[in-house]
């Protein structure tokens, strides 16, 4: 009944800004989530390298940890500001959501703020403490970053999962009268969304790190340094991949019962029925699936472990309450599952080779896969967000608040969207350029050590032209 009240309300003032506002939120979240993954998981990988370095007196691992923490400094800074953009956008783009439910969904964000503090404080200590803090003291100063990354992620995902499975509050006469913080935080969807995203973060970060060194190995830099760098990223991510697939499978089954319309869009279930087939790929247009592979009974089997399982279709809700562009949701879901499966097979390849021959596969295809594994993990993770966010439409709070009702009524979102796309393009290019610059500088350092008579890179960088007297104010 709450839903119908808000739907009527929506009819009164549907914002024309809802589409650009959604596009802007998608752009900024899609950009930030990559940095968020690195913020959540990269510190653990750096700490793992430092741990190996300290424990086994492994100079290579220690050098990697030092260098990675420099990259981490850049990534955390960009992640901090792009995360702030999202905080502002909660109010600037979705005042309707915050006005009505800020008191409910705000609380997990407050917990996130706490962990964000710990993360930023200890990042200040860890990143800049390399020189003057002793080995293990420095290692432990990084632990709070890794721990608060996980808890911070849980808090933010608590909000997103609450939007999928809202609960823990009482609303009467359009006003929130009571809130149960525990039920808000540990809502029905949080149980699977939290591990799904945290594992995704570790896979993205691990495979990205591995990918950097796989490229180096492909280019012939087959040294201890590159193999160590590859392994420290690859091993944790590959070990977590099967767990991720298990969590994802459980999540899909929960969505089939909790958000059946979203699930119907994911699997092209137009009519509620039994013996539902599974569609692999394919585009749904006007009741027909083109270019898809149909596997009979499989969807019913996956949902309820029997071909007779009834799967709810999108015909159970009126057309206005169905998500738009079902083919996007379905294809995004398939791409995510497909990449996850390939990453699993790739990890098994390495596991087999290690089991039989105690080495990593020497075949070039293995390393080619390594080179793109990080990007593949990012694509899978972004697809997952497309599934959950587009699949929840037309609701911002599932079956309670329509997205159109939440969007700002201020004009000009197209302008901010355009500017933000330009700004983020520059930011993205600059971040990648800087990371490449760092890697080039490190490599020059390597060659400097190997070839003592080579020109010193530090001298080249601090030459006389530095004193060029150009007025800064003129910029």
């Amino acid at each position: 009944m709450q839903a119908s009240a808000t739907v009527m309300h929506a009819a009164v003032q549907v914002s024309s800004q809802v589409v650009p506002a959604r596009a802007q939120m998608a752009t900024t979240l899609g950009f930030h989530i990559i940095l968020a993954c690195l913020g959540i998981a990269f510190p653990s990988i750096v700490l793992l390298a430092e741990f190996i370095g300290l424990r086994r007196n492994n100079e290579t691992a220690l050098l990697l940890a030092r260098r990675w923490s420099q990259a981490m400094g850049v990534l955390i800074a960009v992640g901090a500001v792009t995360g702030t953009v999202l905080s502002f956008e909660m109010g600037l783009l979705w005042p309707g959501l915050m006005r009505q439910y800020g008191a409910v969904l705000g609380f997990p964000f407050a917990i996130e703020g706490l962990f964000f503090f710990l993360e930023a404080i200890f990042a200040g200590v860890y990143l800049w403490g390399w020189q003057r803090l002793s080995g293990w003291a420095h290692f432990w100063s990084g632990m709070p970053i890794a721990v608060s990354g996980i808890f911070g992620a849980m808090s933010v995902i608590a909000v997103n999962s609450w939007m999928n499975q809202p609960g823990g509050f009482t609303e009467s006469g359009g006003k929130i009268t009571a809130v149960n913080p525990w039920q808000v935080f540990f809502n029905h969807a949080a149980i699977y969304e939290m591990p799904h995203m945290i594992l995704a973060a570790y896979m993205v970060a691990g495979f990205l790190v591995a990918g950097v060194y796989a490229v180096g190995i492909l280019r012939g830099r087959r040294d201890r340094y590159h193999y160590t760098g590859f392994a420290i990223g690859f091993v944790p991510a590959a070990i977590l991949t099967p767990f991720q697939i298990f969590v994802g499978d459980t999540a899909a089954r929960s969505i089939a019962s909790d958000q059946p319309v979203k699930f119907a869009a994911m699997e092209y279930v137009a009519q509620t029925s039994r013996q539902v087939p599974e569609w692999i790929a394919g585009v749904y247009v006007n009741g027909k699936v083109y270019a898809g592979i149909k596997i009979p009974y499989l969807d019913s089997l996956l949902v309820g472990f029997g071909p007779g399982t009834k799967v709810i279709g999108w015909d159970t809700v009126p057309p206005a309450d169905r998500p738009p562009v079902v083919w996007l949701i379905h294809l995004a879901f398939d791409v995510m599952v497909g990449i996850g499966t390939l990453l699993l097979l790739w990890g098994l390849w390495a596991a087999y080779e290690w089991w039989r021959r105690r080495r990593l596969p020497p075949q070039r295809p293995f390393w080619w896969a390594g080179a793109i594994s990080g990007l593949a993990a990012i694509v899978a993770m972004e697809c997952g967000w497309v599934v959950t966010e587009v699949g929840r439409q037309p609701w911002v709070v599932y079956q309670i608040l329509p997205t159109a009702d939440a969007a700002t009524t201020n004009g000009g979102v197209v302008t901010t969207l355009t500017l933000i796309i330009i700004l983020y393009a520059v930011l993205g290019v600059a971040t990648i350029a800087i990371l490449r610059l760092l890697s080039r500088r490190w490599r020059r350092g390597d060659t400097e050590e190997a070839v003592p008579y080579g020109p010193s890179p530090t001298q080249a960088g601090t030459g006389d032209h530095r004193d060029a007297d150009v007025d800064r104010a003129g910029l």
């Binding site: 995360g83 109010g91 705000g106 703020g113 003057r132 929130i176 530095r466």
Partner: protein
């Protein structure tokens, strides 16, 4: 009671953001005004070294304040975000460019790129506090209606709002200069101590003048707020004024002892003077008070619990960060890939020696010039506004 507590928590968060995060913006302001590459090398190196390990942690206060605002006072939050969308977008752009510019400058190796990143950092350090100031000015003068759903240009371009914007910039510059005097003293860098002492005094004069101008303006435009500020908030106003004068005097006699705490106290007094003046109303000119801004009691209690947990966890962590920073334990050192300070910003040998002092003294001009020019411009703006 619970609502008053959350109000106090929000005000405390704003205070901490102002005195910690504000100083980081002020550092960017002095970076902007530090002159050409050669002249600006020593001050920029000190600014960079002082901000680097702490700016992200200080920045979190902003996010924390936003979260407390939308959780405990969602109706007021939605109204503010709708009515003041433009200055908030602009402040946000400044925040992104400031952080990215600062982080990138460190890692870039060519001078021109470093300069571009540095200019981005420095310029957006100026822009951000200005627009934040206009937002606070607009809220304080009751320009945000309770049911705002449309952005309003008039709300944040009133003389008081613009004055608040300039005041924020001046206050950030003042705090940064005072803190940098402390940083220079700790490093035994007398040239930089004198350099930032002069700038702190100039900023103090500008900030003081702007505060007085804002009070005068309020006497005409917002009698209610003026009466409150000179009534129940008078103790805070007096403390703010006294702190400013004490810092100025200590700098003038060359004994900058305890000035960082006194300066922070002065700025905190301004924030609390504002909060107390409009208590218990959240959006002046409307019926939206601390307890009627849309959150039930449960939420407010949850926020207080989280805040207590945050104080217990974050407080000691901050103490550790600042203690390590104070003992100069945080910094990349001088060599190789892990240099914390960009090579172009590293102080040339001898920068810290007294023999450079005469040269520095000759450059006292620009700061005073800037200060004087700022006051004149602002005065002219106010006169124009009055005439309209």
């Amino acid at each position: 009671m619970a609502y008053d507590t959350v109000g106090a928590i929000l005000l405390a968060g704003i205070t901490l953001y102002a005195v910690l995060g504000g100083a980081d913006f002020g550092g960017g302001l002095w970076d902007l005004l530090a002159g050409n590459t050669a002249q600006g090398r020593a001050p920029r190196a000190l600014i960079d070294e002082s901000i680097t390990p702490v700016w992200e942690a200080n920045h979190v206060w902003l996010v924390f304040n936003l979260v407390i605002f939308w959780t405990a006072f969602p109706h007021a939050f939605a109204a503010v975000m709708s009515a003041l969308a433009l200055p908030l977008w602009l402040a946000l752009a400044g925040i992104v460019l400031r952080g990215a510019g600062f982080a990138f400058r460190k890692e870039l190796s060519t001078l021109s790129m470093q300069r571009a990143a540095g200019a981005t950092f420095a310029f957006s350090s100026l822009v951000t506090p200005f627009f934040m100031g206009t937002v606070v000015g607009a809220i304080a003068t009751g320009a945000v209606p309770a049911d705002a759903s449309r952005a309003s240009l008039a709300a944040w371009t009133s003389p008081t709002s613009l004055l608040a914007g300039f005041l924020f910039v001046a206050a950030c510059g003042y705090l940064a200069a005072v803190y940098l005097v402390g940083e220079a003293t700790r490093r035994g860098n007398r040239a930089m101590r004198a350099y930032f002492a002069r700038r702190a005094q100039a900023a103090a004069i500008v900030a003081g003048a702007l505060s007085l101008a804002a009070l005068l303006e309020l006497q005409n435009s917002d009698k209610f707020l003026f009466d409150r500020l000179t009534g129940r908030s008078l103790p805070f106003v007096v403390v703010a004024g006294v702190c400013g004068l004490v810092v100025f005097a200590l700098l003038a006699i060359g004994r900058p002892i305890g000035i960082r705490i006194i300066a922070a106290l002065g700025v905190a007094a301004v924030v609390w003077g504002w909060g107390v003046a409009q208590y218990p109303v959240l959006l002046p000119g409307t019926a939206v008070t601390l307890s009627s801004a849309g959150a039930p009691q449960d939420t407010v209690v949850a926020v207080i619990v989280v805040f207590v947990a945050a104080v217990l966890l974050v407080g000691p962590s901050f103490a550790l960060l600042y203690a390590l920073q104070g003992r100069r334990m945080l910094g990349g050192g001088e060599h190789g890939a892990l240099a914390a300070v960009p090579a172009s910003l590293q102080a040339p040998p001898g920068a810290g020696r007294p023999r450079r002092e005469p040269a520095e003294r000759e450059r006292a001009g620009p700061a005073a010039h800037t200060a004087a020019l700022g006051v004149v411009t602002i005065a002219a703006v106010i006169r124009r506004m009055r005439q309209r």
